[in-house]
Symmetry: C2
DNA sequence: CCTAAACATTTTAGACTTAAAACATCTCGA
DNA sequence: TCGAGATGTTTTAAGTCTAAAATGTTTAGG
């Protein structure tokens, strides 16, 4: 290996066009699917995607979650969750109470109504997803799962590096 | 094949848990990476992601684009583009003029300032993407590209079916 | 030529989103 | 126990986003 080829990697700008294209394709896929789910949720149930997502988190936590938990799980800001929860409490889908052991903490749960409505939506939602990913074989799905897991790990390390 | 096994596929709810997990993982990856890019754009250039994305579209179109074109390419609503463009014209990054041949149409371009600033941001942006996807091998990238292309096609067909 | 439909954009009303600051509460060590 | 820092939530200001209605312009068919 010559000196030139060694320094090249360090000094000359490398070509990352492939990674850039990959990122744009990933973004396109997600935006496309998200938009479709959003449309169907509105048409069929007159509900927004963020509300559905929040209810989905709570459906998996019968004992409730704190706002911080929700914020971390949904990867959105704290303030965002505050407003979302406010509207869902208002509409009777959520119950909010201050924790008995720590008065800073708000614990939220699905109400009976909220759970019932969510379950109906979730059942249909699952068929939409199956429809949207319908062209993929089982092997495709497995392979995508594997590669996206690797991607997620790679991205998390990049986030970590920046925060150091 | 028995009658039971034939009717099963039609009448009984199928299990689409894998596709659902795949969708959630796809969404997680995109949200994670999008958040990271957003943070770095803000920290480093004090610019928002939608503005960067809009400038990226225009950088590829030296002769300008109509608002409709931009709206379709970015997969966002028309009204959204109107506001985004307004702010970027205000800050001197974009030039907007009514088409000579069709007074309904607004043609927007990067100004000299806009192009210069975008090029600086884009160069750094590309290194961030390379960093974020750094753990993937060339083969991983190729395979992801292929599977996401298939996913996109599948999703587009689902959108089409609904709109019929 | 006229006008109905198509098209491009803007406006409107409301929801979502973020980052940062403010506020409230808790924890822990001196 | 007292106060400093950590933690959980809300508030604030600004921007992004959508769907739907409104506005302005063009195009085509009669």
């Amino acid at each position: 290996m010559t000196l030139d080829s060694e320094t090249k990697a360090v000094e000359l700008p490398e070509d990352h066009a492939d990674e850039l294209r990959l990122w744009l394709r990933l973004l396109t896929c997600t935006t496309l699917i998200e938009g479709e789910i959003r449309s169907r949720l509105r048409e069929r149930f007159d509900v927004t995607l963020p509300r559905f997502d929040l209810m989905a988190q709570l459906d998996k936590a019968p004992d409730g979650m704190t706002l911080s938990d929700v914020s971390k799980r949904m990867m959105v800001s704290n303030g965002n969750v505050t407003g979302l929860v406010e509207r869902l409490v208002e509409s009777g889908h959520l119950d909010r109470r201050t924790s008995d052991t720590d008065r800073r903490v708000q614990v939220i749960r699905l109400t009976k109504l909220g759970r019932a409505e969510f379950r109906k939506m979730a059942a249909e939602h699952e068929t939409w997803i199956a429809d949207i990913f319908g062209d993929l074989t089982e092997k495709d799905v497995r392979e995508l799962m594997r590669l996206l897991a690797k991607t997620k790990g790679s991205a998390q390390k990049a986030v970590q590096r920046r925060q150091d």
